[in-house]
Every structure is written in C-alpha cells, then in structure tokens.
Symmetry: C2
Subunit: 368 residues, 2 copies
C-alpha cells in the first residue's frame, strides 16, 4: 500500500508545482488519510521542499494496519502540549527553505491561516483548491473492493433485520440494531448515522430516528452504510409493514423505483452528472412531485460518505469509469410518509457490463 | 426557553457592538444552537442590524422541541439548491444596511470568508473571537440539569454492563452495548464514541474499541457519556477482570485514584485551571509517570464534549461557579495497560457543598 500513497503524493506535488508552489499542506482528514494511509487526530501532511512529513500532535496509533501511516513517511510529533499541527508544519516548511506553500483554503480556518502567517511571515500562502478531492473521485480497484465489502456488510445487516419482527419496535432501536449488526459483520462502524423512518417519517432524507414505533400499514424506510477500511457505502430501501400495501403505496413506490432505475441506467462513463440527476428527477417531476425533491439525487462515496461528484441539477462535470456514486431519489409526502430507494454503484463502461451494483438487496416492494 | 436564547443573543450583540460591529454571523453549530435553540444542518445565525435571522439551507426539522428553533427568531431559507447559509446571511446583512459584520474566524474557512467578501464587498468583516464559547462556559441551572440527567443515564448504562458477563466479549461489542443502553435510558445518543479498552489497551486516552476480547486478569477501562437535550457528559472507570487484582494493578489504581481525587478537591470557584491540572498531574509526576501523562487532565463539557475551560499546564484563566468540567487523569503503560478515572463535576462554592459530582458510579477498584 505504501507505494500507492507515494504515487498519490507525487501526483499532488506535480499539481502544486504546476501552480507555482514548492510545497503543500494537506489538513482535511480524509485527504490526509488518502495521501498518508492514516489520519491521526489533528495530524496534517506536509509535502515539503526536501521531505514529506506527517505532522502529528501526539504519537500515531499504529496497532492496526488501518491506523498505521505509510511507512515511507517520516512522522514529526509537535513538541509540547496543545500544539497545532498545521502551524507547526508551516514552520517546518519555512525551515526547509520553502517560499510558497499551497494550503487547503476550503478547510483551513481564517484564524489558523493567520497563525501560519505569523509563525512563517515570509512564506507565501497559496490555495491548493480541491486538488486532493478531485484526485479521490476515481477509485482504484483496491478502494472499490473496500466499498464492495462494505456494501456486502450493509446488505447482510439489512437482510437480518428484515427477518426479525418489526411491529412495535421504535425507530431508534431498529437503527441501533442495524449498527450493531454492521459491526458484527466486520465493519469499522456505521458510515453515517443510520436512518430508520416509519409511517409519516418514511422517505424523509436524513431522518433521525425517533421513538415512534413501527405500525401495521406503515411505510418503513431504512438507510444505512458500513465503513470498511475507511471506505463508506450507502444503501436505502423502503418496505411496507403488513400483509398488503395500499394502492397509493404501490403507486408511489413504483414511481420512485422508476426514477431510481432511470438514474442507475444513465450511469455511463462520459455522462454529465446533471443528466444522471435529470434522468431520475424527470420521472418524479412529471408525476407532479417537483416540490418534494431533495437537492441531490446522488453523490460520490469513498473515504467520506458524501464526496464529489454531486448528482444535482447544477452539477458540472462528467462521470468517469471507476467512480462510485449513490443513486437515491425519494419522495416524502408530509403527514403520509414516502419512499426512498438508494444504491451504491460503480460507473463502468458498457463493455464491462455497465454500472456495477454494490448494494444488492432486492428492490421489490416487500410487505413485512 | 425562548427568553433564555433572546438574553444570550442580547449579550452577544452587546459584545459585538462594543467591538465596533453592528452585526454578527454565528456559524459554529454548537454556538448556533446555544443562541437559537437549535442548529439545523448548515444553518447560521445572523444577529442583524434590524432583525435576527436563522438562515437555513432547507426547512428546519421542527417535530421535536429539541430540534425546533426559538420561535422568536425568523427563519430564512436560502432559495435554490446547494446554497450556502453563511454567504447568504452576509448578503442579508448588507441588504439591512450593516457595514461591519463580526464573524467566527476560528470556524469560517478561508474560502468561505472570501466568498462572503465577494458577495458583499462593502461589508467590513471583523472577528468575533470566541465570544460565544466564552459565554457558554458558565452554565445556568437548566443546562446543568440536562448534564445531570445525562450523567444519570451514563451511570445506569455502565451499572448494567457491570452486571453482565464480560470475559470473552470484544471491546467493540461492549461499546455498542453501552451505546444501546444509553439510548434505552433516554439519551439522544452517545456524547462521543464510547471507548472500551482491555488488557494492554486499558488506560489509553481516546482508545477506539478493537476486536480484542476481555480476558481474566485484564484491566478494563471504559469511557462513555450521554447526550441529553444536546448536553454532553462523560464518565470513565477502570476495573479488573477476575477474582483479585494483581499488586501492580492495585498500586497503579490507587495512584491514579489519588491524582483524580486531588484534581476534584481543587475544583473551587476562583481556582486557576492550571492549578487544578497541577494538583492531579503532580501526584502522577512524583510517582515517575511524567511521560505517560496526557495533555489535559480535564476540560469543560456542555453542548460539545470538549469545550473551555481546558485543565492543562498552560491554561490561562480561573474556574467560576457553575462550570461543569471533567477530571480525568490516567496512566497507560505500553504493553501492560493502565488506568483512567474520569468524572464530570460542576464547580460550586464551598458554602453550597463544594464540587457537585454528576457521575456517581463507584470509584472503588471493582474486580468483575
């Protein structure tokens, strides 16, 4: 793995050098992890003029392979108590003779930026933009395999829940049980707070579980994901509780299912992100649900659960092969509930069989 | 409650006006919650020239009293998809005729700061410093009562775990079980990721649970907390697994216990934060554990689990009455394990009985 990280750092360094900076300071934790193999709390990565350093505020935890930084990287521990790694790294860069340092202005606060300027007043601070985030969009097969395992774990946890008795249990308990099962099956932990929504809550994006209990006739929507070796996936399904769904439930489900399928089917290398969004959104729009729609119908996943690309009406850019994204349209009708269907897929060329579905739990409307 | 928030906003406005700014933009989520009663995701609070506004990127979730913003505040929803609340709020301030806006430079990123400048180029941006964080340090009795209930919940969850069989179970499972019990007893959720550390891991600050199983003879250290109505408390205890602890375990435990007691006993209004730290640290230092000590022996708690004051050797400032803090010294011996003991207490004058202990689980060395 060490080599992978070195290659990634070289790409970033080339990008910085092209922008006129000899060195870069990476502070956003997911970016540090991507380039250094691990992101100890508060650590930053200095791609320096003479040497790369992982600058930490305390000794990194190296007991498991996932928390161990790339061995090729020298670790510098900020001396004293309560030091700041970004400020220390800037001082080290200046001491290495660096005159221009590219920083992550979208992550660094105004206060820290000023502190860096005051410890290294001669260092010119430039912006690195979202160079690392851009680099992270296309995944290698190692990364995709972590996502695939995470998706399997989420499928397993969800499958087991469906076999248990649901009526009478609260949203909070179901969410906790799902999270326990994720860990049971080998996840590092949940990829984001598990959402379980019943009855009138069903279909609300990002619903936080409440003490409402599952009742007969409810829609039940569940959204969960596993983190596996740092990589986060997502699956969302909606079910009906009871022997048979009502007509309005079947209609709404079929509609959201069609929208989700349209989104999935438009995932091809070269497709514009906004066109994927439009494919899904159009189905719901034309059925009169324009108002009920969320901002995005999908987004990239990886070391963070919500990363680029964004599948939104205003998104720029096109999809590449080996980009994992979610496709997750939904409709929520206030007071009645709703439906969300959410998969994680990897964009693949048609010659390779088209989009690879990572979350394989059935999308039939199950009555539980 | 609405009145409480209005009083807090008035205090902040007075502080800004004294600093020469007619308006303030509060973006740090815990600060928004403190002043507005709720902090919908991505929302910011504008204490404007003519009107206060909670600026949200979507409709706030108002189903439970805890997630409902102060009714006296007008809610402004940023139109369109993917808008930014801080940038929109700055535009609104400029439209209100505000010429100087105080912002949270320690929370706002360099990029956002620049975006604000570009949408409202005539608006002078000043720093608000940590004015809201400072205001949050001393709690009112309503806030302390939330912490007290959270502490009771954490005590209950821990008490139940101690009655169950521990040998053979993994750190991860014990941590998940504790988190489930917190929610069972009415917590909003865990206050921070629950730490369960066995054997050689015991006593490590912030240890992330692994698949290591509890064994006879282990030290077992547990650190957990409940969030109740947004307020977060913390308790940490160390136990021994088996019928009788070894001599070295008893010695180390007694030492850490003495250090923790010394810290607790020095919690009086007017005490310097560094003196509280020194009281605890000195006990461990003189026993030869200077190297093994963490940066802080305690910290404030409230809407965040780690807030001011910090109990560190370099801390400035004194404790006031009604300030809740943790006292949590510990020693970790690499390869052998260690001990941490952690309580949440509220600083009270001696006339009121001295520090109020919120986390009341016994600190005897239990052999489980």
């Amino acid at each position: 793995m060490s080599e992978v990280h070195a290659v990634r750092r070289t790409r970033l360094r080339d990008c910085c050098n092209a922008g006129g900076s000899a060195a870069a300071l990476v502070s956003r934790p997911a970016n540090v992890r991507y380039l250094a193999g691990a992101a100890p709390e508060g650590a930053v990565l200095l791609l320096g003029g003479t040497e790369d350093l992982l600058v930490c505020v305390g000794p990194p935890d190296d007991r498991s392979p996932q928390s161990r930084p790339d061995e090729a990287l020298r670790v510098h521990i900020v001396p004293g108590l309560g030091g700041d790694a970004a400020v220390a790294a800037a001082g080290l860069a200046a001491a290495q003779g660096v005159d221009s340092l590219a920083v992550e202005e979208h992550h660094l606060t105004v206060t820290r930026h000023r502190e860096i300027h005051s410890v290294a007043p001669r260092l010119r601070l430039a912006g690195i933009g979202c160079a690392v985030e851009q680099q992270r969009i296309v995944k290698d097969e190692e990364e995709i395999s972590c996502l695939r395992i995470g998706a399997e774990i989420a499928d397993q946890a969800l499958g087991e829940l469906l076999e248990s008795i649901l009526v009478g249990r609260t949203e909070r308990h179901l969410a906790l049980e799902l999270e326990r099962r994720l860990v049971d099956h080998g996840a590092d932990g949940p990829a984001f707070p598990t959402s379980v929504a019943t009855g009138p809550n069903a279909g609300r994006p990002g619903h936080r579980p409440t003490d409402r209990r599952v009742e007969e006739g409810d829609f039940l929507s569940v959204c969960l994901g596993a983190t596996y070796r740092g990589y986060r996936c997502e699956i969302g399904r909606t079910f009906v509780i009871g022997t048979a769904p009502a007509d309005w439930q079947i209609e709404l489900y079929d509609l959201v299912f069609s929208a989700q399928r349209a989104g999935r089917e438009s995932l091809v290398p070269g497709a514009a992100c906004r066109d994927v969004d439009r494919a899904a959104r159009h189905v719901l729009d034309s059925a009169g649900y324009a108002e009920a729609l969320p901002m995005a119908t999908g987004h990239g996943v990886g070391l963070e659960i919500d990363e680029d690309p964004q599948l939104t009406p205003a998104a720029m850019g096109k999809l590449d092969a080996c980009v994992p994204v979610t496709v997750e349209p939904g409709v929520h009708l206030p007071g009645r509930g709703g439906v969300r269907i959410d998969d994680t897929l990897v964009v693949r060329p048609e010659a390779d069989g088209g989009p690879e579905l990572l979350t394989i739990t059935t999308k039939e409307l199950l009555a539980l």
